[in-house]
Structures are given as C-alpha cells and as structure tokens.
C-alpha cells in the first residue's frame, strides 16, 4: 500500500499561518485604535506593514503561479515494514 502526500498540503499549512498572522496583525491594529494612539506615526507604520504584507503575498502568488500542486511531496510504501529481510 502506498501513502502519498501531495504538495498542496504545505499550502494548507501556509494558509493556517496566514490566518494566525492576520489575527495578530488585527490585534496590533486594534490596540493602536482602542488606546487612542492612531496618530500620524502609527498610521504610517500600519500602512507600511500593510503594504509590505500585500507586496509579499503578491510576489509569493506570482512565484508559485505555475506550480503543479497535485504532484507528490512524500510517498510512503507500507510494504517496507512488512517485507521480511532476505539473507
């Protein structure tokens, strides 16, 4: 029996990280707004981080646009554990 792990599995891990990133970014922004600190400095910093994030996600998308996500990342052959050694 062969167990294959396709490449798109790491995409799910990446998306899970993106979700965590989004939560913490929003938390940071929420802290700035709630404490009344949304002035020029915090606006510039928030805009800078937001722009860098968009740029990074765009370039990630562009670099991975032609990837075949269906190809096999890892393959396990369970017969390896069942076969008896030959001497």
């Amino acid at each position: 029996m062969t167990i294959t792990i396709p490449l798109y599995v790491i995409l799910f891990i990446y998306l899970a990280f993106l979700a965590v990133f989004l939560i913490f970014s929003l938390l940071n922004f929420y802290h700035i707004v709630v404490t009344g600190s949304f002035a020029m400095a915090s606006f510039i910093m928030s805009f800078f981080i937001f722009s860098l994030t968009i740029l990074t996600l765009y370039f990630t998308y562009q670099l991975l646009i032609d990837v075949n996500w269906q190809q096999t990342l890892l393959e396990f052959n369970t017969n390896f554990f069942q076969a008896s050694p030959q001497f």
Binding site: Y14, S25, H31, T35, M45, L52, T53, T56, L57, L64
Partner: protein, 182 residues
C-alpha cells in the same frame, strides 16, 4: 486628544497638558534589527545557490523555499509591528489634575498607574549618554509623598521643560485643593 480623553476617563474640569511618548530615536535599534532580518533571506539564497546550484530547479524544493521565505518575511513584519505597538503605546499623560502612566508590555499586558498632581513630592530628570544629551531626551522620576507610587517617564523629549511644567501644575493643583478644603 479626544481619544486620549476617553481612554483616561477625562473629568469635565480636566485639561490634558501633555501626552508623551518615548523619543523616536529609541526605536532606531529595532529598525536596524528589522533591516538586518530582511536581508537574511538574500544571504541564505546566495549561499544555497553557490553550494547547491541545482537545488531550486526541483519544483518541490523551489515551492518549499518560496513558502518558507514568505512565512519568514511575514513573521518579521509581525515582529516589527508588535515592537512598534509596544514602543508607541507606552505613554505618559499629564493633565491639570493627574499623572497617568500607561505601559504596554507585549501584546496582552498593560499596566496603568495614576496619581494626583498635588501628591508629587519629587521630580528628578536624568539625561545620561551621548545621544540623550545631543537630542535632549531622558527620564523623569516622579515620586509621591507616600512613596508607594512611583512613575518614571522613560526617554521622553525635552524632559527639563516637562519637569518645569509639572512643578507649576503640581503647585497650582495643591493651591486648588487647599482652597477646596477651606
């Protein structure tokens, strides 16, 4: 100022005199760390290209490298944003009635200390260091009569002017409370 008034539950007769943050130069080391961390993937890429020239020809390794680099960069952005929030949300608010110290510790911890102006007994300014002296920023140590409450304004710009102003505000507040008690 409107938001700050809401934050400190500003009283009707209260006027916000100062809303102080640390001097921006104190955030500069974090900016340098950020720039260095941004440059690390480029160095790693050139290292791998020289040691394993055909590594990124394989689609799987190429995909893993791109996703890891993306995760790394996004983590740096989150770190930088978190450090900024930690730096910027440390603030000291001086009104004509109170002194409030808001200290942000990480993302999920904040300490707020306040006391009345007329309780101030001692104000000490400490400007130590080359950049501190050149750019005129330093600490103000504010002690009250009880000694239990102790606030330090850390690395604020123009600390001597703030100290002088606080002395005058404290004296005015003391006079006001003396009149009220008669």
């Amino acid at each position: 100022m409107q938001f700050i008034g809401h934050l400190i539950k500003q009283k009707p007769y209260e006027k916000i005199e100062y809303s102080l943050h640390r001097h921006p130069i104190t955030f500069f080391p974090k900016i340098l760390i950020f720039i260095f961390m941004m440059a690390v993937p480029a160095g790693v890429y050139f290292l791998f290209i020289n040691i394993f020239p055909d590594l990124f020809q394989t689609e799987i390794y190429y995909t893993l490298a791109v996703l890891l680099a993306s995760i790394y960069f996004l983590s740096i952005y989150l770190y930088a944003y978190g450090e900024f929030v930690d730096f910027y949300l440390d603030m000291w608010i001086v009104t004509n009635d109170r002194v409030i110290d808001i200290e942000q510790i990480g993302l999920f911890s904040r300490t707020v200390t306040e006391f009345d102006l007329y309780n101030i007994q001692d104000l000490t300014v400490n400007i130590t260091g080359f950049f501190h002296t050149l750019l005129n920023y330093g600490d103000i140590d504010v002690k009250t009569a009880s000694g239990n409450t102790h606030i330090i304004f850390r690395n604020i710009p123009n600390p001597n002017e703030v100290r002088q102003s606080m002395i005058q505000l404290a004296e005015s507040d003391r006079q006001y409370h003396l009149k009220q008690s008669r």
